[in-house]
């Protein structure tokens, strides 16, 4: 461990990444599966961004809309290239990319989220979320159907109440006639009052 007077600020080797990167074991002396590819992709993307930033207004003037984007894209690119160079120098850690980085649970959950994104608009918030919660909890917790459905629906109703009824966030209604439902309850309530 090299120690400079400012090591606590930069924490170049200090063990304090837990807060922002709990999944990353440290200190990182070996290259994780897929890390080199990621670093190269990042560098490549930064290069693309640099070009895109130049495209905004070129070297027109100091106050052009593209000036700050160009400087930042350049900073990204330099940092990404340095990172890539450092990463490539590290010895590979070994281990399979799929097992280490993308275990089955993560892949399944990502697929569920993707499906959620696609189904949300046509199907509506309530059915999509109910299916999502039931599927996810069943997959992860491996508990009985009764438990899964009960927990899912109870929490969904809670979330729906807070967001839709109290905060009037209009989630996509899809196939559920939400507007009519809520108006119905509103009418009931106002009748009860008068």
């Amino acid at each position: 461990m090299t120690s400079t007077p400012t090591a606590s600020q930069t924490a170049s080797e200090a063990p304090d990444v837990a807060a922002v990167a709990p999944a990353a074991p440290r200190p990182q002396m070996k290259r994780k599966p897929g890390e080199a590819v990621f670093a190269l992709l990042v560098a490549l993307a930064s290069a693309g961004l640099m070009w895109s930033a130049y495209d905004i207004s070129g070297f027109e003037s100091l106050s052009a809309p593209g000036t700050v984007p160009m400087v930042t894209a350049f900073a990204m690119f330099v940092a990404a290239v340095i990172t890539a160079a450092q990463t490539l120098r590290l010895p590979a850690m070994g281990g399979s990319f799929l097992r280490e980085v993308l275990p089955l649970n993560v892949v399944l959950m990502a697929l569920l989220l993707l499906a959620y994104g696609f189904a949300l608009k046509p199907l509506g918030f309530l059915p999509t979320s109910a299916i999502f919660l039931i599927a996810a909890i069943k997959l992860l917790a491996k508990r009985s159907w009764g438990f899964t459905v009960l927990v899912s629906l109870a929490s969904l109703i809670g979330i729906y109440f807070v967001f839709r009824v109290v905060f009037t966030v209009l989630m996509p209604a899809g196939i559920v006639p939400e507007g009519e439902m809520i108006q119905f309850f509103r009418n009931l309530l106002s009748k009860g009052q008068s």
Binding site: V17, S52, S61, V169
Partner: protein
């Protein structure tokens, strides 16, 4: 005498007292849920309280504001998902504490310190509002720009593992903030000619994705581990603890008031700057920063609650909003027949003292609600992960949608969740990304304004900095921190030149 009766009005009217309390309680929960924001709650209240008198309406809004700013820390500590942008820094040291079962202590310290910071903010508002607002109004575009650069230098504090990756992440954040149609010139930036990109990327979507979804995905790696039992026997911090952090909390509260009083900057930037300040002045923390340092909780929480009082300063003295919430409150005052502006303090000083009184009451309620009901909150983290993770994911989706009622934001949020997952895994810090997004507009817009005002001449721009005392102080601060605290230059030298890599 009239001033006193206005100040005590909220204490003597049980209905008002109750409304402030109710608002504060609601605020704590609104703040704790990512995606539900105080801004949203207050703007809904405008229609809701339209037919009310002005006093109860304002009392309710103030309660929500105070509670909401504080509430963001709850989920930050317990789940590593900041409920509101101003709690981002709180997650850095709060979550490691919760992972050790010390969530109770963390929440206790946070609550007491928020209370303390809140009072400093209110105190400055009550005693020095005209002075502070004159000072804040004097900030020129170049000063805002220097302030943003000061903020960007925080990357050093937030980077954790690798500074180079931190710089990348910070720059990435600034670039993200620039995506879309530039509001000053209508030029499209980083849109790749896609219509969806035109309106930019919602900052909240990035935050929820990077912190919420990526955290949830990362936790899937060990879904079967039993959740840490939380010790909640000792919640109220000892007097010794409070006394020990008194000097720091005074400093960070001052940062909070000033940043809060500046139009255009609010609790989020204040909290991050305070965190950085704490990291710089704390010589020997009991635990490292990022590993559960108490100072890392004290600083942002005092600052963001002090910023509440700060935000009211320009609002009450000039009718200029200090942040998004006070902007809506100005609208509310208009609706209720008042004319917020420089004359409000002269024409209706009662209103000013009523607001100060309500803030004081809200601050007390925040302390009460903060120190009670912790048991229920900590139960959340003790839930089995297999249930908690899907709920976090769903809440993230709804939260991202709620900000702007837009499905596109949900897709952005999920995309950044996945990207954040990989960045997290490969050791790219996520804090600087959010920092970059927050500061992007402040830096970019004010840089351009400053240069345009100097007729596009860099020499004239520098001359402006050197001849204005305020700019000069900020400029020296930037140089000082850059050279002294961010060993960027020696580091690049050591890493790149040291190994004989060509650098020219």
């Amino acid at each position: 005498m009239e001033m006193l009766s206005a100040f005590f009005m909220v204490f003597t009217h049980p209905q008002l007292l109750m409304l402030v309390g109710l608002g504060t309680l609601a605020g704590v929960y609104v703040g704790a849920i990512p995606g539900l924001s105080v801004t949203m709650a207050v703007s809904i209240l405008i229609s809701f309280t339209f037919s009310w008198d002005v006093h109860p309406a304002i009392a309710l809004m103030i309660g929500i504001y105070m509670g909401g700013v504080y509430g963001g820390s709850r989920t930050a500590i317990l789940l590593n998902i900041p409920g509101a942008p101003s709690a981002i820094a709180t997650a850095m040291d709060g979550y490691p504490m919760a992972k050790r079962g010390e969530a109770g202590t963390a929440i206790g310290v946070t609550t007491v310190m928020s209370f303390f910071g809140g009072f400093i903010g209110i105190g400055v508002l009550a005693l020095a509002a005209p002075f502070v607002s004159d000072f804040a109004l004097g900030f020129q575009p170049r000063d805002y720009m220097l302030l943003a650069i000061l903020g960007i230098l925080l990357v050093g504090s937030l980077s954790g593992g690798s500074l180079v990756k931190g710089i990348f992440a910070g720059a990435f954040g600034i670039a993200l903030g620039a995506v879309g149609m530039d509001p000053l010139t209508f030029t499209e930036r980083f849109t790749f000619d896609l219509p969806v990109m035109r309106s930019g990327i919602s900052f909240i979507a990035v935050m929820i994705g990077m912190f919420g979804v990526s955290e949830a995905l990362a936790q899937l790696h060990h879904v079967d581990t039993v959740a840490v039992k939380q010790k909640i026997s000792r919640i109220v911090p000892s007097f010794g603890t409070i006394r020990k952090h008194l000097p720091l909390s005074l400093q960070t509260s001052t940062i909070g008031v000033i940043i809060g009083a500046l139009p255009g900057t609010g609790g989020d930037i204040a909290a991050l700057m305070a965190y950085d300040h704490a990291k710089r002045v704390t010589r020997n923390p009991e635990r490292e920063f990022g590993d559960g340092a108490i100072e890392g909780l004290v600083a942002p929480e005092t600052a963001n609650n002090a910023a509440v009082g700060g935000a009211f300063i320009p609002m009450m003295t000039l009718g200029i909003p200090g942040d998004a919430v006070t902007a809506i409150m100005i609208g509310a005052l208009f609706i209720h027949g008042l004319n917020p502006g420089p004359m409000l303090m002269v024409d209706q000083p009662d209103m000013f003292w009523f607001i100060v009184g309500s803030l004081v009451v809200a601050n007390f309620f925040m302390l009460i609600f903060g120190l009670t009901g912790i048991k229920i909150f900590t139960k959340i983290v003790e839930m089995p992960r297999a249930v908690l993770i899907p709920l976090i994911l769903l809440l993230s989706i709804v939260g991202a949608y709620a900000v702007n009622n837009s499905i596109t934001d949900v897709y952005w949020m999920l995309g950044f969740g996945v990207l954040g997952y990989f960045m997290r895994y490969y050791g790219y810090p996520l804090g600087p990304v959010i920092l970059g997004v927050i500061l992007s507009r402040l830096l970019d817009d004010n840089w351009r304004r400053a240069i345009i005002s100097a007729k596009g001449d860099f020499g004239l721009f520098m001359q402006g900095i050197v001849t204005s005392p305020l700019s000069l102080v900020l400029f020296i601060a930037v140089i000082f921190i850059f050279v002294n605290q961010t060993p960027l230059w020696p580091m690049i030298k050591r890493r790149v030149f040291g190994r004989g890599k060509a650098a020219e």
